[in-house]
Symmetry: D2
Subunit: 295 residues, 4 copies
């Protein structure tokens, strides 16, 4: 397929590379142009602006937050203004369900198509084409994008026809991961202070009752007390918890663990922890117990 | 091996049955004698009292709580008074680390051996000999018990020589499961109120980022809103959270999610929910959101 | 003084009436004009629009929230466009510190003056000219407004020269009141379920260790379980907690009780409690204990 | 009246001194005898053991916790064994409602009388005979003790005939004070980081919406960041929160602020804060915000 790809961060670069590898004709765009270079070497075309990335059957956005996506879409030379009628905007960023709904309406009004397709997975999973992709929107549109998703992920799961649903599911998933980080942080602080070897404990947990990647990755980081370099920086994690809480407020759903996580992030930042991986909130329980966040 | 088995609840009965099946010579005891009948049919000998269950190389206790274990051990005709010198008390109940330490000392003083070997797994896992067994204590003693553990579990993991460590690990594991229940409850309340199908959501989660039995079992129960019959009753779950909090208090480790869980259980009980599975605390978020605990 | 008064809700109407009573020349404006009638009978002049309320030495705004204030100030025919140079905008609404800072800059650029002067007190205190007024800004400006504050309040306290400080103090005060409501709710649920008469309990508390109006008023409402009619509606209370949390997020100050209050309000609203007094969050602990929010 | 007084800590010594001053014939006892000396100089008789303090119309216990009271009462030479028939045990310590109920039964079985009469007030209030005394039990018994209470307190309030009620009320009162400490801690951390002078802030609050001694005393300590010397040490405060939580568990009343306070105390102790005043938990919010507990 002939497609555009906007947003070449750690995740986006890896995803675009896999699209190229799979034979798609990819035009990439990033605000700071040097990030496009490596991809051009792999076969991408570099767009000078957003408009140039909108000439194909689909354009994928993989950007940092709601503002970045809204800017790219509604700017004078943005996606709405340039995407051909009938072409598809595949929104893969972690954004608010509310923005997803607005995007869906706006594209419909411009006779364009919109598909929400946020992803689960850290940069190394993106690089290995092992992402999980959650889609919501028109099934026919999702069908067209199938080869793209197969190039980037290990599995694609449709969760309904309301695009906002996919974004809500994505946020709730990150909430669940952050909850597991906090719970692991408390458990590891407890057994550690009780004299149990932290690494052996995580190995025990993840080879028995919690054989899930999240528990392995984050349990390991917490047991090591090693939160740098960040694969997913704490401010991004905080952003997702805030979006979760905003959605929960709109829907009137109290979420006490989300509230706890929000306070954990603020505390981490008040100590200068913005550069750490979001797993670092799992070190605060150890600090509460009289120890350190990092080993 | 010639062994005794004290405590024939849902878990204990299944475990004893597997020991018999593996060829061990098992003398069973339970306070209400009729529970022994089915096992006698399978080949067990029924003891008239605790003393009669203490004549072998090892005696296993699998009882409801600290009090039940302490009663069995220190009663006039209890384990301490009757277990032969050199024989092993294998304590598999979920008890406090503090009691485990006291048991270890008491048996040492009586020239008996003690091994802490709590288990992870619900009744159906016990029946299938799929338990995870966490041991702590003297390695030689653990080695002797190996055939017993192989008959009951899918995996045995040693976590050190201090028996209390195994009990602390067991409690922390139940804390982690309860934390996952609460987090799932909040997430499912959120996406459900947002229009997402709850069962499809749990299927999505557990086939992607959380491929762990706890998430499948408890996510499923919460999505269904079905908490009866109880495989692990809420008061037992609450007991474990209280033991976790007691250990955390002794070690001076604040655990905010444990505190939240404690309040969740009290709220469930104040509504008459004692008979429900502990997964029912995962229905309280839905009640907070204006819905019901049960479907 | 010749002044304007914008915003004639329960609070504003009472405040404006006291200004008239004290002999000030007051021009009043409210979006729905009928609220001005009673004040006109008491001697006010009714403005047809915001501009007409801006012709004096000062204009007071007493509006529902940030949006209402921003609209009044920056509208085409708003305060900024019409207030004479040197005249004062006295902002008495409960707004965010961030908006107060923006207002201060905007007025300075228009050669107007700005004073933040939020108030503590419920409608009956406003009617009795018993408000507490917290001011922040230029001391000379505050001095000019002194006769106005004396007509409306029992005490005026300056808290510095940065206008945002007064708004932060006001929000923090409402946070403290809401915290007292929640704590009273928990305590009253406890002693009530323990067989103590709830009204006698509140009488005991407020005649001994907590002789403060907040404890009397809110303790009384919770003991009675009577939250209608609302003197300060729950959505307004929630708004203030959200503004507090927003300020806390900007300043990176984790506030766990604020988080708890936020979740309490969401839960109240999910049950249809928007019409109740904000004291109704103090009834949720009783609901948690198996009882009802309202008696 | 001829009375005994058992327990001469900071509070008990001051209370006993006021009883002597009021003309009562007081026999004092304390485990470490030197504490009795100052009171003997003021006119007390020193008892060599508990039995000698039990020969009057009433004996008052003012001890540290449940264990100390139970030991004094049920010891071989304790209160139950020595108090004359018809004489009164006035229990003024902060103890659990459950122990109060047990004491009431035990004294009734021994044909003695029992009155629960816990107090509110810090040592300086005890010295000034300004305590608030909450009584529960037989009204005729309370009437007999009236002159004693008048010598020690500024006000005596009866809260029913079930002795446990007074103890529950006392615990709930300390819970409310601790809640105010936590809320003040969060509010002061917020406004302080926002640039407001902390002392001026507390002065503002306590001269307007919170004119209550608790807010003045604890707000002042938190604003100063000065928690030594302790008038009421943190471990005693923690004990009261634990007793509150135990009563709440028995009554099935979830108390989320109590849970938060429990975790706050554990965190304070994990940092070595046992010697500080319980107001120090109000410094943890400042630590969360990147500052220090103490100034």
């Amino acid at each position: 397929m002939k497609i555009g790809f906007i947003g070449l961060g750690q995740m986006g670069s890896a995803m675009a590379a896999n699209l190229i590898k799979a034979g798609h004709e990819v035009t990439v765009f990033n605000r700071s142009a040097q990030k496009a270079r490596a991809l051009v070497e792999q076969g991408a075309r570099a767009a000078a602006n957003i408009a140039e990335a909108c000439h194909g059957q689909a354009v994928i956005t993989m950007l940092a937050d709601d503002n970045a996506v809204a800017d790219s879409v509604w700017a004078h030379d943005g996606v709405i203004a340039n995407l051909p009628k009938g072409s598809i905007h595949v929104s893969m960023s972690t954004i608010s369900p509310a923005l997803s709904t607005r995007l869906s309406s706006a594209h419909a009004q411009s006779a364009q198509r919109y598909l929400a397709a946020p992803v689960f997975g850290r940069p190394e999973m993106a690089a290995a084409a092992k992402l999980f992709i959650v889609t919501a929107g028109d099934p026919a549109t999702a069908e067209i994008c199938k080869p793209l998703f197969e190039a980037m992920g290990q599995r694609t799961i449709a969760i309904g026809t309301d695009p906002a649903a996919a974004n809500l599911v994505k946020l709730s998933g990150n909430f669940l991961i952050a909850s597991a980080i906090e719970a692991l942080g408390e458990a590891i602080a407890l057994v550690g202070k009780g004299g149990v070897d932290k690494r052996a404990y995580v190995e025990l947990l993840t080879s028995t009752i919690f054989p899930a990647p999240s528990y392995k990755i984050y349990g390991g980081l917490i047991a090591e007390g090693k939160f740098e370099p960040a694969a997913f920086a704490a401010p991004l994690g905080h952003k997702d918890i805030r979006l979760t809480m905003a959605a929960a407020e709109t829907l009137q759903v109290p979420m006490p663990i989300a509230s706890l996580l929000h306070d954990r992030f603020l505390r981490l930042f008040a100590q200068g922890g913005e550069r750490l991986d979001w797993a670092a909130i799992g070190g605060l329980a150890n600090q509460d117990a009289g120890g350190q966040i990092t080993a």
